[in-house]
């Protein structure tokens, strides 16, 4: 099986800049990228509008959505990733089984006693299929009190994923990146365990939450990481030039 691609969006509010995140998630799903969303509900910041939005993003991105308090984040990030992985594998195996059996119920058409073999196959695939995951982290000012939990969650996820048999790479992107940029790459794809990312200094107070544009940036990264790097460096070069001219 080819490698699986996932995005995990961690946010505590509504998007307010740029493209519609639901449309963006749909676009990602078209390219076989699953979009999972974790909404943080701590001080009621997210609101019913926010909850509705994250749920729609996950639905459009064919992924899972969980609304949690920040102290449950560590566990949830790992569990959502694993469960999304299992679901994708189950879907793929089921599709093949449906063709073989000629019954649209797939594995559910088999008597419970006969499912063992297929379940074992799914287990093996979940463990072995290469995985690329991008963590897309909201660093708007309201996330301040949750940053420690997010850092722990990233560390924890990297510990779990690096124990898999299949290759697993994690990249971490923050949004908004700065006043000019929608996103900022904090860590490019790595398969190192115990990933420690310092997030507090990334906090942005501009009040912008460009969820849609951030998702589209991720798509670019997952479809061709080298290309993303090139674009990013060229932007930096341009800025160096601008700096130079101004001086």
């Amino acid at each position: 099986m080819a490698e699986l691609k996932q995005v995990l969006l961690i946010t505590d509010g509504c998007s307010n800049v740029g493209q519609d995140p639901v449309e963006a998630a749909k676009e990602l799903a078209k390219h076989n990228i699953t979009v999972n969303v974790i909404g943080i509900i701590d001080h009621g910041m997210i609101g019913s509008k926010g909850i509705a939005e994250v749920q729609s993003i996950a639905r459009a991105g064919k992924g899972l959505c969980e609304i949690v308090k920040s102290h449950d984040l560590t566990y949830t990030v790992q569990a959502v990733t694993q469960q999304a992985l299992n679901l994708t594998i189950e879907h793929v195996v089921n599709r093949q089984l449906t063709e073989m059996l000629g019954d649209k119920r797939g594995i559910q058409a088999l008597a419970p006693e006969n499912r063992g073999k297929f379940v074992e196959l799914m287990d093996d695939l979940s463990e072995q299929t290469p995985l690329k995951i991008v963590l897309l982290i909201d660093v708007s000012a309201s996330m301040r009190s949750k940053m420690k939990n997010v850092e722990d969650a990233i560390y924890n996820l990297s510990m779990s994923l690096q124990a898999r048999t299949g290759n697993s790479e994690i990249a971490v992107i923050a949004f908004p990146g700065s006043i000019q940029e929608h996103t900022k790459m904090l860590s490019n794809f790595t398969n190192e365990p115990s990933l420690v990312i310092e997030l507090c200094s990334m906090l942005q107070t501009s009040g912008a939450t460009p969820t849609g544009p951030a998702l589209l940036a991720v798509q670019q990264l997952l479809n061709d990481d080298n290309e993303y790097l090139r674009i990013n460096t060229s932007i930096n070069r341009e800025r160096e030039l601008v700096d130079y001219v101004v001086k």
Partner: protein
């Protein structure tokens, strides 16, 4: 537990007296109460109507999780026929719950107390004996290249009848070398930043080390310790302060630092310790010395009185 909203909604409607029927085998069960909630499902105490027998029923929306757990447990039982440290298995089936299809398996209902409740009522010696029984079970699994993963007090029951240690919730069991799927943070060595989450015997033995520590230290102290910046050092500090005997410290440190090659080795060490002397807290040592001095004193006094030295 993560599940979709529809399932959570359906499980909320499960209540005492409700009858659920399997789609394939048509067995009907009457729900009595919820016993527990695991990482992948909810467990109910149910009565099988055709036999009036009580059993435990684990229900979840993930077909994969339920079938995998049932198959694994069935395989383990096939190989270790003599010693049933897990619950006996009955049947695997689906429930048609209208909106969603749920999956369940039924198993023996084990009547007993959890490890945490048992140790509050037992002496340290008795509690250590429970740990040795657990280690025998783990060795049995390890011999088959399987790692239990989710060792925690809630998953260890002391059966009321014979004081036997039984293990429940085999949802986390994985072959050696796989990723640990199910764990609880204070028994997880990665959360203490003391090793990887790739399954090996030492992963289980680490958790047993923490269990052993819990006989002498409250769970809250461990939860607090884990939140510190360098949890490993705090943990070592607790071991040095709270464990009375040097031997016990050594066993605990060996367990959490991955020095034991097998559960059997740890078992042997604890047995040796149990055969040597009484395991107690410092306080009881003081009581012993105090009574010893008092006795000598009174003997001298009595001799002084009788012989008029």
């Amino acid at each position: 537990m993560l599940s979709n909203n529809a399932t959570a909604h359906v499980l909320k409607t499960f209540h005492k007296g409700m009858i659920v029927t399997g789609i394939w085998h048509k067995e009907a069960y009457c729900i009595h109460r919820q016993i527990g909630k695991g990482a992948i499902g909810t467990v109910y105490l149910v009565e099988q109507l055709s036999t009036s027998q009580f059993c435990a029923m684990k229900v979840a929306d993930s077909m994969q999780a339920i079938a995998a757990e049932y198959t694994r447990l069935a395989d383990i039982h096939k190989e270790v026929r003599s010693r049933h440290f897990g619950p006996l298995l009955y049947e695997l089936d689906d429930i048609d719950a209208g909106l969603v299809r749920l999956h369940f398996y039924t198993m023996e209902y084990i009547e007993g107390v959890t490890f945490n409740n048992a140790i509050t009522k037992s002496s340290p010696r008795q509690s250590l004996q429970y740990v040795t029984q657990l280690l025998i079970h783990l060795q049995c699994l390890h011999d088959r290249n399987l790692i239990f993963s989710d060792i925690k007090p809630e998953n260890i029951l002391i059966e009321s009848k014979k004081q036997l240690v039984r293990v429940v919730d085999f949802g986390g069991v994985v072959p050696v070398g796989r990723m640990i799927k199910q764990y609880s943070v204070i028994y997880d060595r990665s959360s203490w930043r003391m090793g990887s989450r790739k399954s090996d015997k030492q992963y289980d033995i680490f958790a047993v080390g923490i269990l052993l520590l819990q006989i002498f230290v409250s769970q809250n102290d461990l939860i607090k310790a884990q939140k510190k910046a360098r949890p490993m050092f705090v943990l070592y500090g607790i071991i040095h302060r709270k464990l009375a005997s040097v031997e016990l410290k050594r066993i605990c440190i060996k367990a959490i630092s991955g020095k034991y090659q097998s559960a059997n080795n740890m078992h042997t060490d604890i047995e040796l310790l149990l055969s040597k002397k009484v395991i107690n807290h410092y306080k009881l040592d003081y009581v012993f010395w105090a009574s010893f001095t008092f006795m000598i004193g009174s003997i001298l006094y009595v001799m002084n009185q009788t012989f008029k030295w």
